[in-house]
Symmetry: D3
Subunit: 323 residues, 6 copies
């Protein structure tokens, strides 16, 4: 593993200098020998406009991140070969074509054992990522941090069947989501009907609303997630609207009363060992984020993902060590 795969270190190179890749990681399209790759998906055709500029902003803001995760006390770069792949080609105005590009680009990642870490883009992009994952892994478990179920059937009198409100119903229908091992975390606020959550559960998803989280407590939620996901190949999708608007003001569909970052991090940090085959952070919307705190939260979540992957790998490294 070459030193060039290490993230930038602001004690050596001035923070925020240089071409903006995620954490200063090397930008390459060559994923051979790579463990995980940052992949931008600058598409907002399926949702609130603005999130298409998130990949660049997240890369820029990621300069705030230092190489080591203090809670786990682990340097992801010491255990993982990580690169910044750049962006998937997107076709503004043509979501299905963008899905096809995503599938074309990302399927080989899974075949090669590379975990793609998507940075959206609106949440509709996750369906493209799931399709790519399912090509290799079959239907994957979905752990969805979200204020909303995103399992509606259609919009605008049926004219739109693929957007950021429907893609997980499509994912179940297409057989790329294994709903029985999938859970939604953070649901709350206002919904379209009195049976929205039940609709999601009817598709097979488990749900944990904010009310559930407050009532049950974080340790129980973590336990529920682990029980639900079990050992299935897991796609972890984090819509930043699961966070409270105070934490993530810069997103398209604010719902009051969401997760604090401390809560989100507490949950994520307990998920080591799950079989993560892909993950993403979506719905950061830079034009709505003048404080850039939403982008900072998004970049931090990506780092939490990297730490989880590194912990898994460190376990393996230890196991593989000669004695």
């Amino acid at each position: 593993m070459s030193a060039s795969n290490q993230p930038a270190d602001a004690t050596q190179v001035a923070r925020g200098s240089g071409i903006a890749t995620f954490m200063g990681l090397p930008h390459t399209r060559d994923i051979s020998g790579v463990d995980a790759a940052i992949v931008g998906i600058p598409s907002d055709t399926g949702g609130t406009p603005g999130s298409r500029s998130a990949p660049r902003v997240l890369r820029d803001v990621s300069s705030l991140l230092r190489p080591v995760h203090a809670h786990h006390n682990i340097a992801p770069g010491a255990h993982l070969r990580v690169v910044d792949y750049g962006d998937v080609p997107v076709i503004p105005g043509a979501l299905l074509d963008t899905y096809a590009e995503m599938e074309r680009v990302l399927a080989p990642f899974h075949a090669a054992g590379v975990v793609p870490i998507g940075i959206g883009g609106d949440h509709s992009v996750t369906l493209g990522e799931l399709r790519a994952a399912a090509r290799h892994h079959g239907p994957v478990a979905l752990l969805q941090f979200d204020a909303h179920t995103d399992t509606y059937d259609e919009y605008y009198g049926g004219k739109i069947r693929y957007n950021s409100g429907t893609m997980f119903r499509r994912g179940v229908e297409e057989g790329v989501i294994d709903a029985q091992h999938s859970m939604m975390v953070g649901l709350r606020g206002t919904v379209y009907s009195t049976h929205d959550y039940q609709d999601a559960r009817d598709l097979g998803f488990s749900t944990r609303t904010m009310d559930d989280i407050v009532e049950l407590g974080l340790p129980q939620i973590v336990q529920d997630i682990r029980a639900c996901v079990a050992d299935r190949p897991l796609f972890l999708t984090f819509d930043v609207d699961s966070l409270d608007p105070s934490v993530a003001p810069g997103t398209g569909t604010l719902e009051c009363g969401g997760l604090t970052m401390r809560e989100a991090q507490t949950i994520l940090r307990k998920l080591a060992g799950l079989h993560v085959v892909g993950c993403d952070v979506v719905e950061v919307n830079p034009p709505l984020d003048p404080t850039r705190t939403t982008a900072a939260a998004g970049a931090t979540l990506v780092f939490e993902f990297l730490a989880l992957l590194a912990l898994a790998r460190r376990g393996n490294d230890v196991a593989r060590q000669p004695n």
Copy 2:
């Protein structure tokens, strides 16, 4: 109850399109047969400048709200006839004249059994709303979410006796507030004298400071509110500066250490059954709210009010149902 009284549904009509009424409700000056009406009060003559533009911004932001309240699992529009009345005429620079307009416009609401849901404006507008309510109901209980007591006597050497710092003292003096059944929730921070809170209590108000809330816990606070208000006609006024600045940055008199939205919503959601005859959300200040999170919080609070009203009505509906 006609379908046209339903709020807009973003699965049918693109979110944020159309003339901006609150939640896309019909705009009409005809309140016959109406249960509740959104009423803008774009006056900031009595307080920090800027809140006069809140009614329009709250209407715009309310497009984020979907028709059903997930916690209560109730669609307010299924139980209430709600309209957007538009704004009360205000006279910038002449608060007393604005009060007269408010009384003229809103008194008939109470006579007709319509609950006006005011969207301010600075907090001084609440006195006008209280005068209108008291014409029909007599002195009303006041449940005041606020960082400050707003019961000062006068400002600037006595030159100003009506503004956003004095109106609740005036309300007691005028006999429109029933202080013995009124409570202030969320007091904290910096005050003008060591007896500010005692002054409020001397007027008859109960007080629950943020220190009280932390010490006693939310369930006790809810119980205290219900005991204090009892079955009196209640005006519920929510100054967004009761919220923490992280939640509601866009308001004129920030006080650190306030309520989270989760806390505010938890309290409000336990108030079903109180006899609410009017309510308002005040002090959203759009020029100070670049992230629009304060406006989102304000619109959400209005929706919490609607849900409370709907719960009460649903109870009645059930009671009235033939068997």
Copy 3:
């Protein structure tokens, strides 16, 4: 013509109060007896995201406008019956469906002699407006204020043929634009090829670049426009990126060195008498417009259109007067 068709007067009603219609005009879907109607088209599927929120923002900002145009010394409301129709239904993510809605809604305007004044949305919406106009008028002359030709053929390897860079080539192909009587004004900056402007001319359009404007002077430009358009039914489309970024910072494709508002107004004010059958202002992008000056420019341009229509009508009124 009833008084209710008059715009709001801020000496009577506080500026910025009330439901936000354009200039406080009555909101109605009934266009019988109407001369001109403001029509929002909140679609940005075909262009830079963000302009979908322009209609609401333009309506709000239009409160700055007073009823009389000082240069022409004419009150449009004294000569025209104008209403705010609200918005055309749009289908985010499905531009062709949105076009169909536009055609369905707007064609009757032209049949009824009502001039629709569109407020976009990204520039791709103009094709829908042109289709509606051409149904009644046949191919229309186009006077296009724009930094760019928007006559490209396709994007992204042919996957996208309808967006804000191609719609005027489509318009010629579809026979809704009479290119021989059409002119582009304000072209400049950076282009995709050395023959972009020639391509537009090859389609039949006349072009006046910023270089031309500086060299020839505004009076000559006006003369050229009038000569080109002649007496054909004219659609006037104003992309705010024809303005300099100092004037209109809040738009998606800034091009330095554009028109000042004084220049744009000087040209527009000399166009009285042209046979305007439709017009629009597009590409105001509120999330990119923190100063709201772009929205103010957009609303002012709409008022310039109203003044042009009123001048024409006043002429007719005079002509029709008995003697």
Copy 4:
């Protein structure tokens, strides 16, 4: 004249450090021996909310100014004793009381030969300044840079007779403005009636609209101003909405097509020798000025005033020199 009356020099003291007085001038209430004094008037009760915070922001931004005016090549501080007096006490919500305070505070300035340089506040404050000036000088000539006449009679059905749209009619009625020697410069845009400008002229004011300025040219405008004002005691009031929104986005009533700063400065720089007894810059509205360019323009205008005063004084200094 002590060195302590000199503005701050950023080659010696870091720009933007220290308590924010205008240009770092000494803050004192003692105006004895002073030639000119900066006086803040943080009142916006009579106009668009927000301008009350302008005095502090203008003081802060004035750190950009260096001690010498390059065009005139004069250091105002070398010829004038200038101080920052601080603010006039204002009574938010009570404009007439604020006027009384202004008159009480500022009348002694005129008696003592001190030129007060007001920094508003909304434009209504100028009436208070004029009253103070007229106490000593009698009716003063007014040179008014403004997009609007501000000579309306009343607002809101007569309920408001003093605000930022009426104060110059009041000033004529009260005999504090000598309208025959007064001129409005920069009128344009939208007005309330077809006789607004004529109404102003009927009061005695001369008017130069933006159309006039473009047609006649700046040299003629300067000549007209000088002819109109002649040798009368002059109050120079600069409403920043006379500037184009591109130059001054942060003001309450944007009117497109206004003066550039180069034009405004060109006019002002030719006014040396007029008998300026007071001046102000008003309607800078910081909450609407995220780029702070409006504040920078406002501070620069104050510096232009100081240069004019210094030029007059230098002339006198030369004349008084012994030979």
Copy 5:
């Protein structure tokens, strides 16, 4: 103690009017007889650019503060003579020279028993404050609220040894910090190496990470602080990045998952009786703080410091009272 040392009272003088000193306190360089003095340190040469403008912004925002601390029910101004000293001269681009100025200016404060309350500036300024304190008190205990240790050794290949990441290592080396009685509170997030926190402990510091705070609870943290600091002369430094980005978005090195203001205030309010000889609030970065909530938090923290000092003094006052 003269009345003139009282902070401004917004019931008497309009909030936000007048020259901006901290809370409207008198600005003077004369510290004789003074108990505590606000001292701006507008330097950001050692850290993220932008914090140099914090002192002015904090002074402006401090107008929100009222004279009495509601939790302690104490008016600092009734027990302390407090002034606003203005700013220490800083040398942009020359941190060591700025340190020399700080030491020169502030050492006499300590000799005179005046507690300087610094408002930075980036965190590197604290070393200058510590040097000044140590001249009189010898090595001082440091209570450091911070997301980061700031005890790195050097940056950029050794070219920089003094900046906002190294100054506390320098402070120990120089003997101005008594690390054995010093504690860091709020550490979290991302670090440069797996031994960053251990490195700080090796220097003698105690550490309490956010993980510790959550696990141990605030009462234990308070007890630990008091035990660690004991009766040593204490410098209390508050880097606002110890707060969560939702609370303090306007700072240079955001770390998710930090303290809420309620938590920070709870800790600070329990520290009465510690021997505070100096304190500061640093890293407020106004250009990154469009909501101004970070500035409001910073000003509030200064007020918490004043309350602590007043409590100590009140205790002494009581003790000294004749009986």
Copy 6:
């Protein structure tokens, strides 16, 4: 010349997608065979804080640029091999060390005939660029677009001799600037002394103030520049504060009354044929540029430079063509 050296084309790849290099040019440290290279210099130690983030923002915003310059009708990429080199290593807080790095990195560019196009950073960085150029070319002519001379001698009592106000005096002293062939364009506003401009002239510089530009006209200014520079190796430095604040609000030292972009572009477009050996755009300050128009102007100026270089090369290409 490979296709990979072409800038990105937004008709093929969605605008704003991909790793942000300038115009999507390839990022490489290999300058062999390269004609011009974009080089970021993210240093603001010598000036107003904030400009250090300009290189990344300019790269991001440059996505707005299309491959062909419409005025010259030339595609720079068709005549030049251009790359994005990334950034020079900078040492925040140590300007002289940063200069050394710049000289080390950039001198080989000149030796290899590569024109470095610097994107600052504050204006002090230009001295480092000039030192590098002079190593190969000897003293170079300087064409300086600037509101200020930047030829002061020292700041803060001599403690600072290298910053953004002194570097061109240093450049003359060091023999890297050939002042006799150098010109300053755009001087105006406020200055530190009555002899600032004369001081610059005494060093050998020619000056053209804004007053000169208005009086002489752009064609004469162009002629003067060409006469002054003649055939010397030229460094072209563009401080965006030479532009009017309406055009470039996001810079540290606003001076009203500056160049419009149309004027700046008119001048630059007439400079083809000058022997440009280096150039830069400096003082774009993103935290002060919420509209991003300053960044757009900066990116456009870089494109104007590229067009100038391409024109020169095309001339050569033509000359070299076989016949």
